[in-house]
């Protein structure tokens, strides 16, 4: 477990007596929005479809009834205008939460994100804040095809001034969304749609997860598997399979690509001396490349095997079901990657 410095840290495994509910990823997001709106009356939620059925896959259900139209409202189909509106509201003291049904639609808004919002705090010499959260859902399964299933997390992580959060399970989705909304920096909050129905016990009361602090999903001694987002369950499955083969891997869930918890990665790799990075995104110029490069720079001579990446092919997402199935890396692909690194180690 990652040790927390906070006295009030909640740890379900420690047997702390707190009430929890079994929530899906989507329901956890809904709980986070409701609680953060209760905590801070400057939070408002807007975007296409947020105030009516089916409530963006349930994530905004009940908000209109509780908080009214002032704080929860539907909008014209104007991604750029709405992002800019959020920027204007954020620099004027509000905390907008904008929702995009697909991350791909955010490409319209790169001018706002890259040319204004990311540098707003910097170029004001810290006078102005930009506390906006942009929720973006990444499609997968059901033939989303090449245009509606991209995860451009590395684009956003490349820009100084933006935060990029990609939760990998329900309880984390809740805590990270509360942190993102209460953060004074602009945050792209990426939600893999494939995780939406997955469930876990989620504390009922509001809590936060620090941005920029990786989570240890599984302790292990043989190899560090660094991952995030939709590949967290895949990594956990791979760990079970590897355990049967006598390989004990450690899973580091980055949670946030920016800020990036390099310390957690380096601490883990120092112990295991082997690294695989599983990234739910294109292979070239990606987050995995950044992690591997940093580990090589800092610990290269201490590694017993060359690191490997398990990523999407450097190709667009195909629509046809058999091709789509073949496209995404599976637990078996992660196992194979890990075994290659283990094998390479035993040969040296």
């Amino acid at each position: 477990m990652v040790k927390s410095e906070a006295n009030t840290a909640v740890n379900l495994q420690s047997g702390t007596d707190i009430s929890t509910s079994r929530l899906s990823y989507g329901q956890a997001l809904n709980a986070a929005l409701r609680q953060v709106m209760e905590l801070d009356d400057s939070v408002f939620v807007y975007g296409l479809g947020v105030d009516g059925p089916p409530y963006l896959f349930g994530t905004t259900a009940g908000l209109l009834e509780q908080f009214g139209q002032k704080r929860v409202f539907d909008t014209p189909v104007s991604e750029q205008g709405l992002t800019a509106m959020g920027a204007g509201a954020a620099t004027s003291g509000l905390r907008p939460v904008l929702v995009h049904q697909r991350l791909d639609f955010m490409v319209y808004t790169m001018d706002q994100l890259v040319n204004w919002m990311s540098l707003w705090h910097f170029k004001s010499a810290t006078q102005s804040k930009m506390p906006i959260t942009i929720r973006a859902i990444v499609g997968k399964n059901w033939g989303q095809g090449p245009q509606h299933a991209k995860s451009l997390h590395t684009w956003f992580a490349h820009i100084p001034g933006l935060q990029v959060v990609v939760p990998g399970s329900p309880a984390e989705a809740k805590g990270l969304l509360i942190s993102a909304v209460l953060s004074n920096d602009p945050t792209v909050f990426i939600e893999p749609r494939a995780l939406y129905a997955m469930e876990e016990e989620v504390p009922d009361h509001p809590y936060y997860i620090p941005l920029g602090k990786a989570g240890l999903r599984r302790p292990g001694k043989d190899l560090s598997l660094v991952t995030f987002g939709s590949m967290v369950p895949t990594a956990i499955q791979a760990a079970s399979q590897l355990k049967k083969k006598g390989v004990d891997i450690e899973i580091v869930d980055l949670r946030t690509l920016m800020p990036l918890d390099l310390e957690a990665v380096l601490t883990s790799v120092k112990k295991t001396r082997r690294l695989v990075v599983a990234e739910p995104g294109w292979r070239m110029f990606g987050a995995a490349a950044e992690i591997v490069a940093t580990v090589c720079e800092e610990l290269g001579s201490k590694l017993v095997a060359a690191p490997r990446r398990v990523c999407w092919p450097h190709s667009h997402v195909p629509m046809s079901t058999p091709l789509e199935t073949a496209y995404y890396p599976t637990a078996e692909d992660v196992v194979e990657g890990c075994l290659k690194v283990m094998g390479a180690g035993s040969n040296t």
Binding site: L12, Q13, L94, D111, A197, R217
Partner: protein
């Protein structure tokens, strides 16, 4: 030869003489041999009052190189030799072209979009602003920055890239902002119309009677986000004054090469936004119109779009002028110079019986404030590079976060099937 600064008693008659007489002449030539005659006060008087200022500032054995051209706040013409140029910028070895073009003339080293010729609209609005009002401006923004009550000294220091600048020297003229006065600029132009919808939304959300003024130029009206913003403001009935300064040029490209009409106002009305086309160089007319329009916006009657017809009489982006590029006719420029809004307002004031002394005093005070700001900015420190590296993220949170417990992860059942999507 005596080499000592002038006493106050000696200074004042010379300064008075310059103030009284320099304006009368077309040309003032300063021969400064560096023995103490041209002190700060006389420097300021010359720079404020000489219509065309030509300066020869000598560095020689008598003043031991202490007298350099860089002490002057402005000059229209300078005459110095090569060693004097090198001394001024402390560079003995670079090519002389580098010394003159890149170093000597680059004290202000950022793009500056002067609003000379376009001052009337911000001046008129300055009398109508409330503190809670927000201004979101394009980068020809100096007039609006000052109109919103942001400090002149901080603006000039920003031009010089100094730590005391409105943006700590990190943004420059084209991205000025000043949060305490709710003044912002720095989207790529058309974006300010859209960002203003958020400022206005915050005013409705807070329930105050503030309004947001968004300013862009005619060129920016050709970008799509403008029409998203007009629609959003109309649908949500937001308190925005959309202001388009039509100065006929986007850079060097005239409006008749970019659009089918030389005016813009007709494009806006179909969005359900009230519109008005106003002479942008008539400060008094603008004040009367803006008074009515801002009252209606504050009254909750929804957004308003105003197109002001105006002209920039300096270059697109300076400090230098750009008429050598021959993109506009001298006749067109002269026509608008004859309609200079500041001069026009002066004439109106005099014709309405305001004493010339009073007008001149206002002009002198304004000039003096500008030169004082330049003098201060030159002395201010540059920002610290290492500090700037930490400015990208605030790494701060709303107070509510501190009341929450932190969550530590538990083992997650990763064997659950992925969600199979459906339309809803």
């Amino acid at each position: 030869m005596e080499r000592a600064p002038l006493s106050d008693q000696e200074t004042s008659p010379i300064v008075d003489f310059v103030k009284e007489r320099a304006d009368i002449y077309d040309l003032v030539i300063v021969c400064d041999f560096g023995h103490g005659l041209i002190n700060n006060e006389l420097n300021t008087a010359l720079c404020e009052h000489a219509p065309y200022l030509a300066i020869n500032a000598q560095s020689n054995s008598g003043n031991m190189g202490f007298n350099t051209i860089t002490k002057y706040l402005r000059a229209d013409y300078i005459c110095i030799d090569e060693p004097e140029a090198r001394l001024s910028v402390q560079d003995d070895f670079s090519e002389i072209e580098t010394v003159v073009n890149d170093k000597l003339s680059r004290e202000v080293d950022c793009p500056i979009h002067f609003c000379v010729g376009q001052e009337a609209a911000p001046a008129a609005l300055s009398l109508l602003f409330h503190p809670e009002d927000i201004v979101m401006s394009h980068h020809r923004s100096h007039g609006y920055y000052l109109a919103k009550g942001a400090p002149l000294e901080a603006m000039v220091a920003e031009f010089y890239g100094k730590a005391t600048g409105s943006n700590g020297g990190l943004a420059g003229s084209q991205e000025l902002s000043y949060q305490p006065a709710n003044f912002f600029s720095g989207t790529i132009l058309s974006g300010m119309f859209a960002m203003a919808t958020g400022g206005a939304f915050s005013q409705v959300y807070r329930g105050n009677d503030g309004l947001t003024v968004a300013v862009i130029g005619d060129g920016a009206m050709e970008e799509g986000i403008v029409y998203e913003a007009l629609n959003i403001a109309a649908v949500f009935k937001l308190p925005v004054l959309f202001l388009c300064e039509n100065n006929l040029y986007s850079g060097f490209t005239r409006i008749d090469r970019r659009a089918m009409s030389e005016t813009i106002v007709g494009r806006v009305a179909p969005f359900g936004v009230k519109t008005e086309l106003i002479d942008g160089n008539d400060a008094i007319l603008l004040y009367d119109k803006f008074k009515e329009i801002t009252a209606s916006i504050r009254n909750g009657e929804g957004p308003f779009f105003v197109e002001v017809l105006t002209y920039r009489t300096r270059g697109h982006v300076g400090p230098e002028d750009d008429d050598i590029f021959d993109y506009r006719t001298p006749e067109e420029l002269q026509k608008w110079l004859d309609r200079d809004p500041a001069q026009a307002l002066r004439s109106v004031l005099l014709s309405r019986g305001v004493a010339e002394d009073v007008v001149t005093a206002i002009e002198s005070e304004t000039d003096a404030a500008v030169y004082r700001a330049i003098e201060l900015a030159k002395q201010d420190p540059f920002p610290v590079f290492e500090d700037s590296l930490s400015y990208n993220w605030s790494n701060t949170y709303a107070p509510a976060l501190s009341s929450l417990p932190e969550y530590l992860p538990v083992e997650f059942d990763g064997s659950q099937p992925e969600t199979k999507l459906s339309p809803y």
